[in-house]
């Protein structure tokens, strides 16, 4: 046990004192923070999307629909001064008018052009071409303007007062969806999905990042030939355990520091956001029960240990770094498989694929938390899966220990699968 702590201490202290680690720990939240803030700042800046109204409207309806749309695009709350220009055309001249408009957009005179014809009045799709065609926000605004004015015009035709029409058609409802579980309302559905993503990708990133740290550490120890001195003093199993737990603790420390830093940033976000002239957004956290948190942490820890052991075992069977990446490929594939399945699980969290994948010990640490965040998973199922993951974890450690015992003193060519099986039997 004393020796386990010696190995553990070396792995832990040497790593958390490295410059790279300190940098990543500090830069991590800054990076995540900017990923969240910068787009918000940018969209806010671009929000007076002056340009939405800076378009040509080719109106072939023979009505004043074009003018009306131009009117509602202009002004509004944002008070654009730019206005859309309306060009009434006859249907037959539309192709020519479109060519001309395209040319003008190319010359940067306008951002785009909208085509409305008589079919639009009947409810058919309208056409838009422009530089901002991929902006969801801009397209939503255009669509809303077209719909509202088509409706208004139709109502006017049946004899309603334009003034009343305006007040009646100005409807801007959105849907805020909440999730309901057996415990009652479980918070915003959108937020749950986001949270699920966050959980999955943090674990994925940690596994891949620190799995490779362990892999490299073992291969380094082997290629620098330190391992022989070390295993002459410590049982390989103890060495493996010290290494795996040491590096895992480094990862846990990093995540904890991130959580602490994020909390501080969250608490002090007022002045921070004020710097960017942003409102303080209300960030509602999804409500998670204490048992879920315990389960989540357990999934994380066990999943991490499981993969760390596998990476260490793979490191023990090769001699140099070039072979290491290749040897680790099967393990990396397992993690990637779990990540690939995140989206299917989110789409159908109670489907067969989602269920089976969230039970399988090597994908469960990532996929079960995802399922738990978006749907109701019975405690019974969660506990059973946890047992499975614990078993997988033990199996990985056992396998890695065997590979370690034989592999650490083996140099030269990479062993074949058959040789590996013999190693595992012999150890």
């Amino acid at each position: 046990m004393k020796k386990f702590w010696a190995v553990f201490r070396r792995e832990y202290l040497e790593r958390i004192q490295s410059r790279w680690y300190i940098f990543a720990t500090v830069a991590g939240p800054v990076f995540f923070g900017s990923v969240i803030t910068i787009p918000q700042v940018l969209t806010r800046k671009a929000k007076p999307s002056v340009e939405v109204s800076h378009i040509i409207i080719l109106d072939a309806t023979g009505t004043d629909l074009g003018l009306r749309i131009a009117q509602s695009l202009r002004g509004g709350a944002l008070g654009d001064t730019l206005a859309a220009v309306v060009r009434p055309v006859v249907s037959t001249a539309l192709p020519t008018a479109q060519n001309m408009a395209t040319a003008e957009v190319v010359r940067h005179q306008w951002i785009g052009y909208l085509v409305i014809d008589s079919a639009a009045m009947a409810g058919a799709d309208v056409y838009y071409a422009g530089r901002n065609a991929s902006s969801v926000q801009d397209m939503n605004r255009l669509t809303a303007a077209v719909r509202r004015n088509v409706l208004a015009l139709r109502l006017e035709r049946v004899g309603l007062d334009p003034q009343r029409i305006r007040s009646l058609t100005d409807v801007r409802n959105e849907i805020n969806a909440d999730r309901i579980t057996d415990q009652g309302r479980g918070g915003s559905a959108e937020l749950s999905t986001l949270f699920a993503y966050l959980v999955a990708f943090t674990l994925y990133t940690m596994i891949v990042l620190y799995g490779n740290v362990i892999l490299r550490a073992v291969v380094d120890e082997k290629s620098s030939r330190v391992s022989e001195v070390v295993v002459a003093s410590v049982q390989p199993d103890t060495l493996l355990a010290g290494k795996v737990f040491g590096v895992s603790s480094v990862a846990v420390t990093q995540v904890l520091l991130w959580v602490v830093m994020s909390t501080i940033v969250y608490k002090t976000r007022g002045p921070l956001l004020h710097l960017f002239h942003l409102d303080i957004p209300v960030i509602p956290f999804p409500t998670i029960s204490a048992t879920s948190v315990v389960a989540l942490v357990l999934f994380w820890m066990l999943g991490f240990l499981c993969y760390a052991a596998l990476f260490a075992g793979m490191g023990a069977i090769v001699t140099n770094q070039e072979d290491a990446t290749q040897a680790a490929l099967p393990v990396t594939m397992l993690v990637v498989l779990a990540v690939v399945l995140v989206v299917p699980v989110l789409i159908e969290p109670n489907g067969t694929v989602a269920r089976v994948a969230s039970w399988f010990p090597f994908t469960a640490p990532i996929l079960m938390p995802v399922r738990m965040s978006v749907t109701q998973v019975s405690r019974y199922e969660v506990s059973l899966t946890l047992c499975g993951v614990a078993f997988g974890c033990a199996a990985s450690l056992w396998l890695a220990a065997r590979l370690y015992r034989v592999g650490l003193l083996m140099y030269g060519k990479r062993p074949s699968l058959r040789e590996l099986v013999r190693w595992i039997r012999a150890a």
Partner: protein, 320 residues
């Protein structure tokens, strides 16, 4: 006499290749013991079995009175493997403390000893304290010293050195020899493997020569040399001898084997051949002699005799 190491009928096979075959040897406490043999003779395998790095297929190993897997016994052994290495990115002191802790030393005790050793090996001088440097900032020679300190830091009762002289510069080699002799004075047991007979002859009390995994001979160095003596003559010429001399040396009725290094030759007399007769023949052939001496066989010769050129050849291509 208490026994430090005892191997009895030990065999180790790798796949179809037998690395060590039915090897028995006894190392008394407090001696310097040489494990001699060509490359691939099974020296490293034998040493690894002593240290419980690999288990023998047959036979038993006992170190310091117990099997090497017995709890705690490995902490009383210091080991310097043939392929050496340290954590390159770690500070020298930290590496040494880690190695000490692995042998059961407390951090504080280790630190005290590290300081003494660094000073002794000239790694901590007023000009520069290399203990605070990272391992990869050190020269190769310094790294070897650090590794050697790591082997001895916990003051082991049994020190096992695998090819300790390979890659050492003359100064470090001398430091190593001095340390080995000092360990012996303090009653420690030192086992080292080598294929350099000069070092073995000067340092060892006892030797065991193995080839192709089997013991060829073993025992006290003086006794071994005594047993193989009297049939060997050392000759040195004043100047390069004429070809007629070479003819004399090729006469199998006089000489069974000549170890020729141009101006000096070690020959082994044929059975029943008279050294005086050889001297007369050499003079007649026109040799101008600087030295003609009946000698006890050197370990080198005994080694060659015992192992044979054939054994060495096989050894060179055989894998360790």
């Amino acid at each position: 006499m208490p026994v430090a190491v005892e191997l009895s009928h030990v065999t180790k096979r790798f796949d179809r290749h037998v690395a060590v075959s039915d090897l028995s040897l006894t190392v008394p406490t407090g001696v310097v013991y040489g494990l001699l043999g060509p490359n691939g003779a099974g020296k490293t395998t034998t040493i690894r079995m002593l240290l419980n790095l690999i288990a023998p297929d047959e036979g038993t190993v006992r170190i310091l009175g117990v099997p090497p897997s017995a709890p705690g016994v490995i902490d009383r052994v210091g080991y310097l493997p043939e392929e050496r290495g340290l954590y390159k990115k770690m500070q020298v002191r930290r590496v040494l403390r880690f190695l000490g802790e692995l042998k059961g030393l407390t951090g504080r005790e280790a630190d005290k000893r590290i300081d003494a050793w660094l000073e002794r090996f000239g790694l901590d001088t007023p000009a520069r304290d290399w203990g605070d440097a990272k391992v990869d900032e050190l020269s190769r020679g310094m790294q070897q010293k650090v590794q050697f300190i790591g082997t001895l830091l916990h003051d082991p009762e049994l020190v096992v050195l695998d090819e300790p002289f390979s890659g050492l510069d003359p100064i470090n080699a001398q430091a190593l020899k001095d340390t080995v002799l000092e360990l012996r004075q303090r009653g420690r047991t030192v086992i080292f493997s080598t294929h350099l007979m000069d070092n073995a002859e000067r340092l060892c009390d006892s030797v065991c020569i193995i080839a192709q995994g089997e013991k060829v001979l073993d025992g006290d160095v003086t006794a071994v040399r005594e047993a193989h003596s009297g049939r060997s003559v050392a000759i040195a010429f004043v100047e390069s001898p004429p070809p007629t001399v070479a003819e004399v040396l090729r006469d199998r009725t006089l000489v069974t084997r000549a170890d020729d290094s141009n101006r000096s030759v070690e020959v082994e007399l044929a059975p029943n051949a008279d050294p005086q007769q050889l001297l007369a023949r050499l003079m007649a052939a026109g040799a101008r002699l600087e030295r003609f001496e009946l000698v006890r066989s050197s370990l080198h010769q005994i080694f060659l005799e015992a192992v044979g050129a054939n054994g060495i050849e096989t050894g060179v291509v055989g894998d360790e």
